[in-house]
Point group: D2
Chain length 339, copies 4
Amino acid sequence: MIIIMKDDATEEQIKNVEHVLRDFGFKTHPIVGEAKSVIGAIGDKRQLSMNQITTLKGVESVVPIMRPYKLASKELKKTPSVIEVGHGVTVGGDQLAVFAGPCAIESQEQFTEVSRLCKEAGANILRGGAFKPRSSPYSFQGLAGDGLKIMYNSGHELKMPICTEVLDTRDVELVANFADIMQIGARNMQNFQLLKEVGKCNKPILLKRGLASTMEEWLMAAEYIMSEGNEKVILCERGIRTYETATRNTFDISAIPIAKELTHLPIIGDPSHASGTYKYVPAIAKAAIAAGADGLMIEVHNCPEKAASDGAQSLKPEKFSSLMKELDPIAKAVGRKLL
Amino acid sequence: MIIIMKDDATEEQIKNVEHVLRDFGFKTHPIVGEAKSVIGAIGDKRQLSMNQITTLKGVESVVPIMRPYKLASKELKKTPSVIEVGHGVTVGGDQLAVFAGPCAIESQEQFTEVSRLCKEAGANILRGGAFKPRSSPYSFQGLAGDGLKIMYNSGHELKMPICTEVLDTRDVELVANFADIMQIGARNMQNFQLLKEVGKCNKPILLKRGLASTMEEWLMAAEYIMSEGNEKVILCERGIRTYETATRNTFDISAIPIAKELTHLPIIGDPSHASGTYKYVPAIAKAAIAAGADGLMIEVHNCPEKAASDGAQSLKPEKFSSLMKELDPIAKAVGRKLL
Amino acid sequence: MIIIMKDDATEEQIKNVEHVLRDFGFKTHPIVGEAKSVIGAIGDKRQLSMNQITTLKGVESVVPIMRPYKLASKELKKTPSVIEVGHGVTVGGDQLAVFAGPCAIESQEQFTEVSRLCKEAGANILRGGAFKPRSSPYSFQGLAGDGLKIMYNSGHELKMPICTEVLDTRDVELVANFADIMQIGARNMQNFQLLKEVGKCNKPILLKRGLASTMEEWLMAAEYIMSEGNEKVILCERGIRTYETATRNTFDISAIPIAKELTHLPIIGDPSHASGTYKYVPAIAKAAIAAGADGLMIEVHNCPEKAASDGAQSLKPEKFSSLMKELDPIAKAVGRKLL
Amino acid sequence: MIIIMKDDATEEQIKNVEHVLRDFGFKTHPIVGEAKSVIGAIGDKRQLSMNQITTLKGVESVVPIMRPYKLASKELKKTPSVIEVGHGVTVGGDQLAVFAGPCAIESQEQFTEVSRLCKEAGANILRGGAFKPRSSPYSFQGLAGDGLKIMYNSGHELKMPICTEVLDTRDVELVANFADIMQIGARNMQNFQLLKEVGKCNKPILLKRGLASTMEEWLMAAEYIMSEGNEKVILCERGIRTYETATRNTFDISAIPIAKELTHLPIIGDPSHASGTYKYVPAIAKAAIAAGADGLMIEVHNCPEKAASDGAQSLKPEKFSSLMKELDPIAKAVGRKLL
């Protein structure tokens, strides 16, 4: 790390900073300039909070050089991780992963029916919400345990892995019993207790990016899970919060090449939650695959009783099927397989 | 609510939307224009997810008119809430609340000593972290139960209420046994399970604004707690995430008059976490009081063994004491009491 | 537009709002609810500033229904515009437009050489900066008139249209004499005097999105140009400002499908300025084409004297050539032609 | 500056970077670590674009140490600037500056009347818009030259300096003839040609912060003006763009203490444009003064013909007068004078 001293820092203050750094095992290299002095410090930053140095007298700022995550980085593992998620499906290899599923779990028949349509269209993983994080306490909160069983049955019947969200440390064991992949939602990306708890499971974790998380914070959240022993983390870009209101969130397309540079973990894109409207889902889905994503998560709805419905952010099964056909040549163009 | 139909919506689609709305008990008022039609719907939006209407054929968008929160709003309770937090201290009345406390709980002696200095300077509530949410799994995670006991002892001795964060639904009961005020941190503002759990306690809750939460999402989080029966919610503005990097977060000074307009709940300001550097704490603290905040939360550190330390975002006890004296005439200027 | 009245608005205030609206030629439809009243107003919002209604007594807020731009919208022109930019090149049709060019104009020989390499790789429009908007007054400000002549000569020799930025109303005539396409940079997107001035020219305008502009503000800027008589506007998404620092700006991929929905104007993507680093340019370029962009603007550098240079956001000619080959099958997959 | 080399940078690449730096007159200090090497470079960064170093082979990133602005910084001038703006009024001293004025210039009588009311309430500078930057080309664009004359007459009669915006390089001379202070609006903060042009005048410049500008970009814009010889720059914080929609912009209260730390230039706050609604103006105005601002700019309207009007972001003269009285004790509390 580099310690930048204030313009009026005294020689004694510089020596004191060096002293503290050497106590933590760093080698120090002071560079005294006309206007400013800086100290280069070589060592493992993870031993030391940058904050502890910032507080020393005469210090203006501290610039980290090493990244704060290790297991998630390419330092130790340079090749991309390919994660087995059940029923022979993998995430991170040549074959793209497509998570798809209905808006709400209403009954066994309905869920199996829409899941079958998703499978026929080319999806290889089922998604659905049993526990739902809702902004309003007055909104439907999900079917909980009953929803888990319905998903499990459909997955079993269709021989497809299932992915569902876990919201509470107290539910981790229950969800792990039914799900093939456990999802950490955007709102819980920095719920560190939950991250640690799923880190103790031996199940793949789909880690959604927080509403306003930086790439570094996201990879630190992955590190939390991995540091407990579970290295099967799949990143999912689902849009970030910006000033623009034309979409619900702003899909950060750059997150894909940046993730490919910084980590060996696979990354998928979720155009449904990013845009908040089905109209923009196809364009963003194509963009994500073209940019190098390892897969997609797409909401597909099945509401036969509401024939008049267009779907807010969900695609109808037939539109999803068309999209999969349109995605296929793009996948091939970037050296991946889809259908 | 107002339903805006697409330019090419058919008469049949308009009738269908009206039909669905009337099924939910709304009265409908279609307005047919040359380019566009809209439908006014009078009724209780909380019965119906806006999403359900958005998905109907021919609908372009839905504009809410009523606010989605009720208990937190001024609809039912027009006068400001004054919340008793123990030892005769209230938050929301004429007397400003000042939460202060050391950076880290290290030992009983140290915590009591700095707490005493805070009290002498004019603080009336103690703050401290027993469970610490840390971005890195490799950082110090707090003293947990031992920290709670230390805080409890100091509060008891100094006759001051104590406030500490709870991170996990499994710890709510434990923390509630020791703390006078339980804090929900910014990262957990939309951890709905935790909100519900603290909503079942009979303890005041300090609800920090999420990293990138809108005013409405924040008040919906308060509504979650209140809908479980606990109406003792204190809001805490602690800075929001923006593009500006000169401060760690951007203190949203407007949140104070907006909260005063939208809710009866008290609101305090946390300049320490907002700015991330002690240098800007006094200016922001003064601004918050001048804007009408009901109090402040300020980090005051006590690190006698590190004599060379300036403190990153913490104030030294003597600086805190000076700040309190500077705040006093501002408090008086806006009709409040501080010292 | 919909006027939402305050909870305590009086009957007289409602009548007054209706009166004012009718004066402006609107038909009004009051809807009186138990908690709130609203007024639907049918007419041409462009006759009236929403602000004028917001200020009336008893009004809580005003919700627009019609979009504020007209010439840029699909109301009057439903089919996509195909804009001729010279030398037989068009923007907006099946053939994708690729603007490419060197980092800096240094000499005639150098500019022509790198332009030739761009053309060989498949670019069909040359870009370069004669007038440079620089954040620092101490940075190189461009070759001005001499740069224009160099660009003109290269374009003439290679039979390619040239695109260059105009910064000042006083330079519009000069730049229009040399350039085939005049660029309005992100920092000038709301320099309304400049927009009006280029609106009086009969030259295609490349309108970059402002640093933190909404889609609506961007289309209003296009409307400024078009309202002066020049309808040849090409939109260029170049990244927006967000809290994320891993890229210089955040490329808003959704801007492409949104533009396709809202306007008939063509839209291209600029991955070089969005990311600020050449490493992410290929992934973002592919994403933009897959999402439906009508073309790309890419910085290609030519600095033979600095053999050790990797280029910050510029691609070397050979990398640009590889990228074009990789883009070709993606273009075909979305029904467009590139090479 | 500090140059951080890539993990796999070769010794030769490090030597090459050092070579280039020394060519530019820097002294270099290489620090070779186990995982990474860095190079400390002591010299004047303003001689060299950081970009030029970033592009060298083996370089990961470049960290600036010196600030890029000089005239605006406290390096050369440590004491706060006090700027004379005419009629004996100064900005930056003990006496706070209060810019106030009507929403629109309609006639000589009206402008003089509302200006007189502003003066009586305690304002010491008049503001008004002769040239108006409007988002829509269909909105009223201001009275131009006639508005300037009206303002000039009122200022002359009331013996108050007047401040008005200049939008176009071609109008600088005209505006400078009439105005005591020329305003650069938020949308033109990076209109560098306009900054240079007003930098050649001998008139104080009110420089509004850009819609989404960092503190550094803002001070660089001031540097543009100052580098042309005009050091009389007054900064004006008017809210930045964030995701929050409850206010039109987010008033960045921290900008005030940060400006006080980084520059000798005075800074005022504009709560009217920041909030976009008159309701929040008093709270933000008080906060700005408490935080140490050198003054305020407040819209005061005068629309006697629209008796039903509440004013969107403008205060009525009587509300402005009350606010001034409420501000007075806060000004005193921070050691300043208002009335």
